[in-house]
C-alpha cells in the first residue's frame, strides 16, 4: 500500500516500503510550460534532504528539483531523455523522475499529505 507526500517545491513522493518514487506535480509542470530537457541524477548518487537532485528545463527557465528526503538513488526514468514531454503529459504517473531508497523515514513526517498540498496550492 503506497502513500503519497508532497513538498512545498511541488515534488510528489510515493512511498512503497523503503523506496520513494519522486516526480513533480501537475501544478508544477503547468507552471514550467513545455519541458525540453531533464537532467536526472545517476543511479547510486546519495542525497541529503534538500540537496540539488535534478534540473528540469523549459526553453526559458531551469528549475532545480531538490531531494525531498535523504537517500540513495535507485532507478532513473531514462525514457525522459528521449521524451521529456512525458512530464508535461503525465507528471504524476509516467513522468516519474527517479527513485530513492529512504535512509531516514522520520523525514517523511515533515512533508504534506494530499489534502495539505491541495490547500497549499489553493493559496498560491
Amino acid at each position: 500500500m503506497s502513500e503519497m507526500r508532497f513538498t512545498e517545491d511541488h515534488e510528489w513522493v510515493r512511498i512503497e516500503g523503503d523506496v520513494a518514487t519522486i516526480g513533480i506535480t501537475e501544478y508544477a509542470q503547468d507552471q514550467l510550460g513545455d519541458i525540453v530537457f531533464i537532467d536526472l541524477p545517476e543511479s547510486g548518487a546519495e542525497f541529503a534532504q534538500g540537496d540539488d537532485a535534478a534540473v528540469i528545463e523549459s526553453v526559458k527557465a531551469a528549475s532545480d528539483i531538490y531531494a525531498p528526503v535523504s537517500g540513495e538513488v535507485g532507478e532513473v526514468n531514462e525514457a525522459l531523455d528521449v521524451e521529456p514531454a512525458t512530464v508535461n503529459q503525465d507528471a504524476e504517473g509516467e513522468g516519474w523522475l527517479f527513485t530513492l531508497t529512504i535512509s531516514d523515514p522520520g523525514e517523511l513526517d515533515n512533508l504534506m499529505d494530499a489534502d495539505a498540498y491541495k490547500a497549499f496550492v489553493a493559496k498560491l
Binding site: D34, V36, E57, V59, K60
Partner: protein, 956 residues
C-alpha cells in the same frame, strides 16, 4: 547685417544635434507633456539630491566631425605599420571588399542587437550558422558555438567545460608549453580562483606525472611545429582526461583536424579569416566539441527549428545554459561575444569556398617552405622540422640584431629568446616579403626555387588532411562578387537593426553609432597592427588609449582604467579579481562572499562564481529597490568574509535608488568593496559620478553608453574604472607587465579590442562635456515621456524620486487577459515594424523600455502608438470582439506568405494582420518567418546548416 558670432557659424556643436533625436521644439513639447519646466528641472526631480552633482563634466567642449577625424588621422599617423611576422595567433589577412563595405561598414549589420527576437534576425542568424558550420567542418567536430571572446578565454572556457562534463576526479589541468604565451597566462588567472591547479609542461615528458582532468594542446604549436598527437590523446583518454586542442583554422584546411584524432574540444581564433588584427581585436574565437556536451558549452548557440507554418527557422538554442537564465549556475558569464566578427569570418568562408581557402593555405605553406629553404641555404636552421606557416629560426647570439635589422626593413619578427626568432607568414605574404626576409638574414635578394623541388613535405604525411570540408552549398554558391553582394543584401533585408527602427531594449542603450565614429575602425593604421608589436610602433594607440582613459576618468570620477576586458562580463570578472587581490594584499584573502541583489543582471552572479566567490542574494523590496535592512543584516552576518557587493546604478529597474550612498557605506563598514555594474551609465553621465557615491570599481559598457555598435551580439568592450587604491591590481599582460600584485591577464591582448576604442573616443570628443550632459538629459526625458504616454495602458512598475524614472522604464503586462502572453505582444510589434523592448527581465511578464537620447519624438511616438494599438487589441480580445485563440496577437508575426496565401483562415482580415497602423503602409517590414517554435528547437537540436531539402520540403 549678420551679427552672428563666427564661433556659432563654425558649428562646433553640430554633432550634438546629430546624435540626439528630439529637436528643440520636440523637447519643449515632451517636457510639457510630462509636466516638467526644463531639462535642468527634470534632472533635479529625477536624480536624488544627495547624488546629483552640479560639477559640469571636466571635458573639452563639443567639436566638429571633421576636426575630430583630423585628430584621429594624426593619431593613426603616429602608429607605425610594419609587416607583421609575429604570429602567436594573430595574422594579417585581406578582408574581401564586398564584406568590408557591405557588412563591417554597413549599419544594417553592425547596429543589430543580439538575436533574442529570432523572427526579425534570420539574416544574421544564418550568417552565424554558417560560422558554426565552418568551424565544425574545419575542426571535424560535431558542434560549435556562435563565438567566444578570444582564443585564450576560449581555452579557459574549454578547461571548465572539461571539468564539468568529465568523469575524472582531479583538480589539475595540464597545459602544453607549446601553447601561445597569452593563452597560458589567461589560463593561470582563470584556474586559480576555481581551485584548479595548472601544470604547464612538455606534453611528451611531463604529462605522465600529472593526473589532470583535462589537457590543452596547440596545433600547430606556437613555435610552428606540426605534431601528431594521436597517441597523447589516446593516453589521456585511457587516464580519464579530456583533450582540448587550440587549432589554427587556416592550417586545418591542410591538416588532419583534431576531430579525426578524437579530440574532445577544439578552440581557436577566427581572426585570420578576413578580420583585421586591430592591435588585438575585435575578432571572434570559436569553441567546438562533442554533441553530447551541448548542454554544457558556454556562449550563444544558433540552432535550427521551425516556425508555425513548418518553415525552417533559426534561433538561439539551449539558452538555459546561459547567464541570463542560469545565473550563478551558468556555464559561463559570457553575454556579449564577437558576433559581427564571427559573421565576417563565416562570410569569408562563404566567399572563398573550400578550394580558394585551400589555395590560400597552400600558398602560405609554400612561401613558408621557400623561406625555410632560403634560410637553410644561408646557414640557418629551424628548430621545427614540420610547419604550416611558422618557422622557429635558430640564430645564436644574433636574434636581437636580426630583429632590429628587420624592423628597419619594415618587418616585425618574433623574438623567442636570445638565440631564436619566430617568423609567421600569412595570406598577405608575397615573394617580395620572402626576398626581404632572406636579405635580412644576409641573402642577396633572390628567393630561390618556388615551384618544383621545394620541400613541401613539411607537413607530416600522416597529418595531411584527406577529408572534405565546407561541402554545404552555402560555401559553394556565392563566389562571384555580384552573387555575394546579393546574398549579403538578402540576409541584411531579413533583419531589423537601428537602420529600420528604434530598438528600445532596456539597459542595452541602443543609441546612434555615428559614421564618423565608425570610419577610423577600418583604417589600416589601426587595423594592420599586431597586439604584440613593439611599443615604439604603437604611439598612436597609446595616445588613443591614454586619452580615452582620461576621458572616462573625468566622466566617472575614477582614477584609473584598464582596457583589457573585452566585454562587460569580462569587466565584472576582472573587477572582482582586482577586489580579491586588494583584500589579499591586506592579509584578508579569505574574503569570499559576494552580495548580489536579486534584481541583478545574470552576468553578475555568473562572474562572481568564476572569480571564486560565493553568492549571497540580497532581497529587493516591493518597490524593486535593494532592501537595505536585508543588505545590512547580510553584510554584518558575513562581515569577516565579505569581499564585495555588486550593484547596478541606476538599478536594473530603471530607478535612482536614493540610499545608494548608505548602501556603499554599509559594505565598506563591513570590510567589503563596492563593484558597480555600469550598464546604466547612460543615465548618469554629467549628472552623478559613481566614484563619488562609493563605488570602488565599475565596468563601463563601451558598446552601450559610448557608441560601439552592438554588432548583433558583439564586439563589446568593458573597461573597468577604479579608485586609486585598486589601481595597482589592474590586470597585467606579458607584453605590458604591471606591478607584482597585479591580477594576471584576463584577455589574450593587453588592451582587449583597441581598434574599436576609436569609436568611443570620437563620440566623447564630438559631444564634449556639454553634449554628454545633454545626452543624459534627453535619455531621461525620452524615457519619462514614454512612461507618461504608456502608463494609462500599461502601468509603469517602478518610479524613483519625483515620480520619475531614469533612462528606462518597466511596464507591467502581468494582468493580460485571454491568454495573451508577453511573447504575443513582442511578436505583434513586429507587424508594426518595431523591435520589442526587453521581455521579462528583471521582472517576469514585463517589458523594459530604454529609448536612448538618439530617438526622435516621431519615432518614440510611433513606438507608443503601436503599444497603445496593441493594448486596444488586447482589450478587444478581453471583450470578445476578437477570438481568444485566433487573434492577431496570438498569430503574430504575420509573414507576406501568410497574407497572400489563397486560403486565409483567420477571423480577422489580412489588412488588419499586416497593416495595423497607417505608418506600416508607407514603410512595411516583412518578417521572413512566422512565430518560431522554441520548444521544438530545444527538443530537436540542430546547429549546422540544414541541407537544402529542408527548405524544399517546407515549401511543399
Amino acid at each position: 547685417m549678420d551679427r552672428t558670432p563666427l564661433q556659432t557659424l563654425e558649428q562646433h556643436d553640430d554633432f550634438i544635434s546629430r546624435h540626439i533625436g528630439p529637436r528643440d521644439s520636440d523637447i519643449q513639447a515632451m517636457l510639457d507633456t510630462i509636466g516638467v519646466e526644463s531639462l535642468d528641472a527634470l534632472i533635479v526631480r529625477a536624480v536624488p539630491s544627495g547624488l546629483r552633482s552640479d560639477t559640469p563634466l571636466d571635458l573639452p567642449p563639443a567639436r566638429r566631425e571633421d576636426d575630430v577625424l583630423a585628430e584621429l588621422r594624426a593619431m593613426a599617423g603616429q602608429n607605425t605599420v610594419l609587416r607583421s611576422m609575429i604570429g602567436m595567433g594573430y595574422y594579417d589577412c585581406f578582408t574581401p571588399g564586398v564584406i568590408l563595405r557591405n557588412v563591417l561598414e554597413n549599419p544594417g549589420w553592425y547596429t543589430a542587437y543580439t538575436p533574442y527576437q529570432p523572427e526579425i534576425s534570420q539574416g544574421r542568424l544564418e550568417a552565424l550558422l554558417n560560422f558554426q558550420t565552418m568551424v565544425m567542418d574545419l575542426t571535424g567536430m560535431e558542434m560549435a558555438n556562435a563565438s567566444l571572446l578570444d582564443e585564450a578565454t576560449a581555452a579557459a572556457e574549454a578547461m571548465t567545460l572539461c571539468r564539468r562534463v568529465g568523469k575524472k576526479k582531479s583538480d589539475s589541468f595540464f597545459v602544453s608549453d607549446a601553447c601561445h604565451t597569452q593563452t597560458i597566462d589567461v589560463l593561470r588567472t582563470r584556474a586559480a580562483p576555481l581551485g584548479i591547479s595548472l601544470i604547464v609542461g612538455d606534453v611528451r615528458t611531463d604529462l605522465a606525472d600529472a593526473d589532470p582532468f583535462g589537457i590543452l594542446l596547440q596545433y600547430p604549436a606556437s613555435d610552428g611545429a606540426v605534431e601528431d598527437y594521436a597517441d597523447v590523446v589516446a593516453t589521456a583518454h585511457d587516464a580519464g582526461a579530456l583533450v582540448t586542442v587550440a587549432a589554427d583554422l587556416l592550417a586545418l584546411t591542410l591538416l588532419t583536424p583534431p576531430g579525426e584524432w578524437d579530440a574532445d574540444v577544439v578552440v581557436g581564433s577566427a581572426q585570420r579569416f578576413g578580420v583585421p588584427m586591430g592591435c588585438g581585436g575585435p575578432h571572434a574565437a570559436f569553441l567546438a566539441t562533442r554533441e553530447a556536451y551541448r548542454r554544457s558549452i558556454p556562449g550563444r548557440l544558433v540552432g535550427v527549428s521551425i516556425d508555425m507554418a513548418g518553415r525552417p527557422a533559426l534561433r538561439l538554442a539551449l539558452q538555459t545554459r546561459e547567464q541570463h537564465i542560469r545565473r550563478e549556475k551558468a556555464t559561463s558569464n559570457i553575454c556579449t561575444a564577437q558576433v559581427l566578427l564571427a559573421v565576417m569570418a563565416g562570410l569569408y568562408a562563404v566567399y572563398h569556398g573550400p578550394e580558394r581557402l585551400e589555395t590560400i593555405a597552400r600558398r602560405v605553406h609554400r612561401l613558408t617552405s621557400v623561406a625555410a629553404a632560403g634560410l637553410r641555404g644561408l646557414g640557418f636552421d629551424m628548430a621545427n622540422d614540420s610547419w604550416f606557416d611558422t618557422l622557429c629560426v635558430r640564430a645564436p647570439g644574433a636574434a636581437s640584431s636580426l630583429l632590429t635589422k628587420a624592423r628597419t626593413e619594415g618587418y616585425n619578427f618574433r623574438q623567442i629568446d636570445d638565440g631564436t626568432l619566430g617568423l609567421s607568414f600569412d595570406e598577405t605574404t608575397t615573394t617580395d616579403d620572402i626576398a626581404a626576409v632572406l636579405r635580412i638574414f644576409g641573402g642577396d635578394g633572390s628567393v630561390g626555387e618556388t615551384d618544383t623541388g621545394v620541400e613541401d613535405d613539411a607537413i607530416p604525411s600522416a597529418l595531411r588532411r584527406t577529408s572534405p570540408f565546407l561541402t554545404h552549398p552555402v560555401f559553394n554558391s556565392y563566389h562571384s562578387e555580384t552573387e555575394m553582394l546579393r546574398y549579403l543584401k538578402r540576409l541584411q533585408d531579413k533583419d531589423i537593426a537601428l537602420d529600420r527602427s528604434m530598438i528600445p531594449l532596456g539597459s542595452c542603450t541602443m543609441k546612434l553609432n555615428a559614421t564618423t565614429e565608425m570610419a577610423p575602425v577600418t583604417w589600416p593604421e589601426f587595423g594592420r597592427i599586431h597586439p604584440f608589436a613593439p611599443d615604439d610602433q604603437l604611439v598612436g594607440y597609446r595616445t588613443l588609449i591614454e586619452g580615452l582613459e582620461v576621458m572616462l576618468c573625468r566622466a566617472t570620477g575614477f582614477d584609473a582604467v584598464s582596457f583589457q576586458p573585452n566585454a562587460g562580463s569580462q569587466g565584472e570578472y576582472a573587477g572582482l579579481l582586482v577586489i580579491r587581490a586588494y583584500h589579499e594584499s591586506r592579509g584578508e584573502g579569505g574574503r569570499d562572499i559576494c552580495l548580489i541583489p536579486s534584481s541583478a543582471h545574470g552576468t553578475n552572479p555568473a562572474s562572481a562564481v568564476m572569480a571564486g566567490l560565493k553568492v549571497v542574494v540580497v532581497d529587493c523590496d516591493d518597490h524593486g529597490n535593494i532592501d537595505v535592512d536585508d543588505l545590512k543584516a547580510k553584510a554584518e552576518t558575513h562581515a569577516d568574509a565579505l569581499a564585495a557587493l555588486m550593484v547596478t546604478y541606476p538599478s536594473t529597474h530603471g530607478v535612482f535608488e536614493e540610499p545608494i550612498r548608505d548602501i556603499c557605506a554599509i559594505v565598506h563598514d563591513n570590510g567589503g568593496q563596492v563593484y558597480l555594474d555600469g550598464a546604466n551609465l547612460n543615465a548618469m553621465l554629467g549628472v552623478c559620478y559613481p566614484a563619488d557615491f562609493g563605488a570602488d570599481v565599475s565596468h563601463m559598457n563601451l558598446h552601450k553608453t559610448f557608441c560601439i555598435p552592438h554588432g548583433g551580439g558583439g564586439p563589446g568592450m568593458g573597461p573597468i574604472g577604479v579608485q586609486a587604491h585598486l589601481a595597482p591590481f589592474l590586470p597585467s599582460h606579458h607584453t605590458q607587465p604591471m606591478a607584482d600584485e597585479a591580477v594576471g591577464a584576463i584577455a589574450a591582448a593587453p588592451w582587449g579590442s583597441p581598434s574599436i576604442l576609436t569609436i568611443s573616443w570620437a563620440y566623447i570628443a564630438m559631444m564634449g562635456g556639454n553634449g554628454l550632459r545633454r545626452a543624459t538629459e534627453l535619455a531621461i526625458l525620452n524615457a519619462n515621456y514614454i512612461a507618461h504616454r504608456l502608463n494609462p495602458y500599461f502601468p509603469v512598475l517602478y518610479t524613483g524620486p519625483g515620480g520619475l524614472v531614469a533612462h528606462e522604464c518597466i511596464v507591467d503586462l502581468r494582468r493580460l487577459e485571454g491568454d495573451i502572453s508577453i511573447d504575443d505582444v513582442a511578436k505583434r510589434l513586429v507587424d508594426f515594424g518595431i523591435h520589442a523592448p526587453t521581455m521579462s527581465f528583471p521582472v517576469a511578464d514585463t517589458l523594459m523600455i530604454e529609448p536612448t537620447e538618439s530617438e526622435s519624438k516621431t519615432e518614440i511616438d510611433r513606438f507608443c502608438d503601436a503599444m497603445i494599438a496593441v493594448h486596444g487589441e488586447i482589450a478587444r480580445v478581453e471583450s470578445g470582439a476578437l477570438d481568444r485563440e485566433d487573434n492577431p496577437l496570438r498569430n503574430a508575426p504575420h509573414t507576406l506568405e501568410d497574407v497572400v496565401n489563397d486560403s486565409w483562415a483567420h477571423a480577422y482580415s489580412r489588412e488588419e494582420a499586416a497593416f495595423p497602423s497607417a505608418a506600416t503602409r508607407e514603410n512595411k517590414y516583412w518578417p521572413p518567418v512566422g512565430r518560431i517554435d522554441q520548444v521544438y528547437g530545444d527538443r530537436n537540436f540542430v546547429c549546422a546548416c540544414p541541407p537544402l531539402d529542408a527548405y524544399r520540403d517546407a515549401a511543399d
